[in-house]
């Protein structure tokens, strides 16, 4: 077909931040589907809760402290997370490196706390339907947490290599954005797992 040039895109930048990038929208789509996964898991939990006259069925509720401790760490982690985002927007490599190292350490700490959460559920997965569904919900969020921590670790290493180019700062902000989702997804799960059995 005959072509006529009517417009120039010479001046457009080669990277952007947030909703001006493809990966950000990709992250949004993944958040949508993972959020739906959490919603379905919560619905399954509540369904089993509704059909069983006694809840938990054969065990005490989980111990409160590991989940509560984790929740506190999640909420506080938003501060260094947001700082990292700011540094990334300013293309401040030193700040981003510090921020990513802190976020990696927080992520690893949360994985350790997660171990305690499992240990203090007070019900094994093969005890009854209650045990099965709490393990399932917690494991779902653990998968979610572990993949994001893994992603953060790789990105941290990357920012200490020669590949720390401007486009990578956009990746850092996407990682920050995704971490916020990990935190937000946890809050209802905390209420569900630690407080619903006490109702």
């Amino acid at each position: 077909m005959k072509q006529t040039i009517v417009r120039s895109v010479n001046e457009l930048p080669t990277y952007g931040f947030g909703s001006r990038t493809g990966p950000w929208w990709g992250a949004m789509a993944f958040i949508a589907l993972e959020g739906m996964g959490f919603a379905v898991a919560i619905a399954a939990y509540l369904y089993l809760y509704a059909v069983n006259p006694k809840w938990p069925i054969n065990s005490p509720p989980p111990d409160l402290w590991p989940g509560t401790l984790a929740t506190a760490v999640y909420v506080l982690s938003v501060i260094p997370n947001e700082l990292t985002s700011r540094w990334a927007h300013k293309l401040d490599l030193r700040g981003v490196r510090i921020g990513l190292v802190i976020m990696s350490l927080i992520g690893l700490a949360l994985l350790v706390i997660r171990g305690f959460e499992f240990a203090h559920l007070n019900a094994r997965w093969d005890l009854d339907a209650y045990g099965s569904v709490v393990w399932f919900v917690l494991a779902l969020h653990t998968t979610h947490l572990a993949t994001d921590v893994g992603d953060t670790l790789v990105l941290t290493v990357l920012m200490f290599t020669r590949h720390a180019k401007p486009r990578r700062f956009s990746d850092v902000t996407d990682n920050v954005f995704y971490w916020n989702f990990v935190v937000i997804a946890w809050l209802p799960l905390y209420v569900l797992l630690d407080w619903t059995p006490r109702l």
Partner: protein, 639 residues
């Protein structure tokens, strides 16, 4: 800091280049590497899309052969061709193959191939994820079929109701194979859905505002959202089923607080939108074909788009109509009667729009249009029988009978497969550069149309006569044998119509008439480039000023200049008005998606046999993913 923030100085753009020079440079950076190893690294959406389409059609042939086997078994009373054990595997494999390995993937495959072309971009968003999606789909499908050939094919129905699919009633690995096949195909489908959403949101050609998006693209966008929100439910379901079977959890064990209807809720919360995941792309194809062969834009573009969106929303409010006979409370069930019937309204609106288009246009009766006309006759009937089964009392009679088998074959074959075959005739010239034979096409259509009705219409009557689904045989005194024989004859002829299609494809690939860029005189952007399109799709990105750009342009395509010819670059634009704002790099070919898919396959298949696969199966996936995302120092990575 200032060092790394500076724009690189070296940078060759397409501004001043002659067409031939431009094409040569673009080809060099966008082509798939040569050799068989190179072909495994391809991230070209057209290469992946073609593989996807061919693989999905291969599964259609396999699923179709199973259908023929079932029809042979049921052609008469008490026939002994298939043992009950084999018959149950065959009908489960037929349903699972058709739903998970053919219908959903083939629609996504068409989207993978055509959405980037229709929106005027050079590759799909996340092309490596796209390649990974294909390999995962391929391995998952092969896994299911290899298991079947070793007599470990699932035998619990495509819906795998518990407790029949629990370890107690289904020892062995058959139900695990089913559940893990689901996981494979869901991963593949979710990946494509993410790509389509981002491609449509961010990679549309300059000026392709929301109200200029081709209807097929809208349809695939809505479908992708349905996938995003429906499939997590089946992932939760299949995972919990495997856990029950493998590590002794109790989700579905009524003795330990579990509940068997939980499975049905989870399954149908996915399963009903699934029907629309298959049908909505079909309606998108119908809109495209009707506009082209009526020689005018579809009437009521806005109504059609809003109907698609409404269908998407409503499809999440119907799942309980699959559970009317499970003893749910009356009031709840009644609500789902109204919602199930109301979904007829957006479908009806679309049909009225197409009727108006054909009314005003001058129809050109080529094969694609014939299949669309067949779609009208069949799908409307299927939709009406759908209104019947939405009624609780009627459903209590026809549920799980051959009436329902007839109903959903009318809906799915009429609503999706007829448009799909029409779409094959319509887009084959674009994919291959050659036309399919019109003469064979007519035979194909009439054989398919008549034999379909002969095969499936009698099933309505059989269902009303009391023939349940999923029975491997029946006794002669039931009086079902004549209609079954008729249906089997129709089924055989229907299978033959697909043999005709395959023959047409094979013959036309070698000796079909050359197509040229736009053989049908169609209006959308995929026809603005050569047939088959070059690896970079468009030498310059189009500027869209009208909903039907090729009809509005008068043979002239306005384009933009200024993109790099040294690295793979796509133009990102704003969501609503498609104003360009970024020249973003697009990933180059890579073997890592294939390796990741292999690692994932080992993980999934291993998890059927031991929960420890979660432990030793994860590191290879992690390594493959790091390899996938780690920068290689190419221009695509570094800017």
């Amino acid at each position: 800091m200032s060092d790394i923030a500076r724009e690189p100085a070296r940078d060759l753009r397409d501004n001043k280049l002659e067409q031939s020079e431009l094409a040569a440079l673009l080809l060099e950076i966008w082509r798939t590497p040569s050799g068989w190893l190179g072909s495994l690294t391809s991230v070209d959406h057209k290469v992946v899309g073609k593989r996807y389409i061919l693989t999905a059609f291969a599964f259609l042939v396999l699923g179709g052969l199973l259908a023929v086997l079932m029809r042979l078994q049921l052609a008469g009373a008490e026939r002994k061709l298939l043992s009950p054990d084999l018959y149950n595997q065959v009908f489960t494999m037929h349903g699972s193959t058709m739903m998970f390995l053919f219908a959903v993937p083939v629609m996504e495959a068409f989207a993978v191939y055509f959405v980037p072309l229709m929106v005027g971009t050079r590759n799909i968003a996340f092309p490596r994820l796209n390649a990974f999606s294909y390999w995962t789909f391929l391995f998952g499908g092969c896994f299911l079929w290899i298991a079947f050939l070793f007599n470990v094919g699932p035998d619990v129905g495509w819906f795998a109701y518990v407790p029949l699919s629990s370890l107690q009633y289904n020892p062995g690995k058959r139900a695990d194979v089913w559940a893990q096949m689901i996981t494979f195909t869901e991963v593949a489908a979710l990946a494509v859905a993410v790509e389509i959403v981002v491609t449509v949101f961010k990679q549309r050609a300059v000026g392709m505002t929301l109200d200029r998006i081709p209807v097929f693209v809208w349809a695939m966008l809505v479908t992708s959202f349905l996938v995003l929100f429906a499939m997590p439910s089946i992932v939760v379901a299949s995972t919990s089923l495997i856990l029950d079977r493998l590590v002794n959890t109790h989700f579905y064990d009524t003795a330990s607080g579990g509940n068997v209807l939980l499975w049905q809720h989870l399954f149908w919360f996915f399963g009903h939108p699934e029907v629309y995941i298959i049908f909505i792309p079909g309606t998108g194809m119908v809109s495209m074909i009707i506009a082209t062969f009526a020689g005018r834009p579809v009437v009521g573009y806005v109504i059609i788009v809003l109907s698609l969106i409404a269908t998407g929303f409503l499809s999440f409010g119907l799942w309980v109509h699959h559970m009317f006979t499970t003893g749910l409370p009356q009031l709840g069930a009644s609500m789902f009667t109204a919602s199930s019937m109301l979904i007829a309204v957006p479908s009806g609106l679309q049909i009225f729009c197409w009727l108006a288009t054909l009314w005003d246009g001058r129809p050109v009766y080529r094969t694609p249009l014939l299949f669309v006309l067949g779609f009208f006759a069949i799908f409307v009937l299927g939709g009406l029988s759908g209104v019947m089964v939405a009624s609780v009392p009627i459903d209590m009679q026809v549920h799980d009978t051959y009436f329902v088998v007839a109903h959903f074959h009318y809906v799915l074959i009429g609503g999706a497969v007829f448009p799909l075959v029409g779409a094959v005739y319509y887009w084959f010239p674009k994919i291959t550069g050659r036309m399919l034979s019109e003469r064979l096409g007519r035979w194909n259509f009439w054989l398919a149309f008549i034999s379909f009705n002969v095969a499936f219409f009698p099933m309505h009557i059989l269902g009303l006569m009391g023939m349940p689904r999923r029975v491997y045989t029946y006794t002669p005194e039931m009086g079902w044998d004549h209609l079954n024989l008729l249906s089997s004859a129709g089924g055989a002829a229907f299978a033959a119509s697909f043999a005709l299609l395959i023959a047409n494809v094979v013959l036309s690939l070698r000796s079909g008439a050359l197509a040229g860029d736009n053989p049908w005189g169609a209006s959308t952007l995929e026809w603005a480039t050569s047939s088959p399109p070059p690896p970079y799709n468009f030498s310059r990105i189009p500027v869209v000023t009208h909903r039907d750009p090729l009809w509005a342009g008068g043979g002239n395509l306005p384009v933009v200049a200024g993109l790099s010819v040294e690295r793979r670059e796509v133009l990102l634009s704003s969501i609503a008005d498609a104003e360009p704002h970024t020249r973003e790099a697009s990933p180059e070919p890579s073997i890592w998606p294939l390796l990741t898919a292999i690692a994932t396959t080992i993980f999934f298949v291993g998890s059927i046999f031991t929960p420890w696969s979660v432990v030793w199966g994860t590191p290879p996936i992690a390594i493959a993913l790091i390899g996938w995302f780690w920068p290689t120092g190419s221009k695509e990575d570094e800017e």
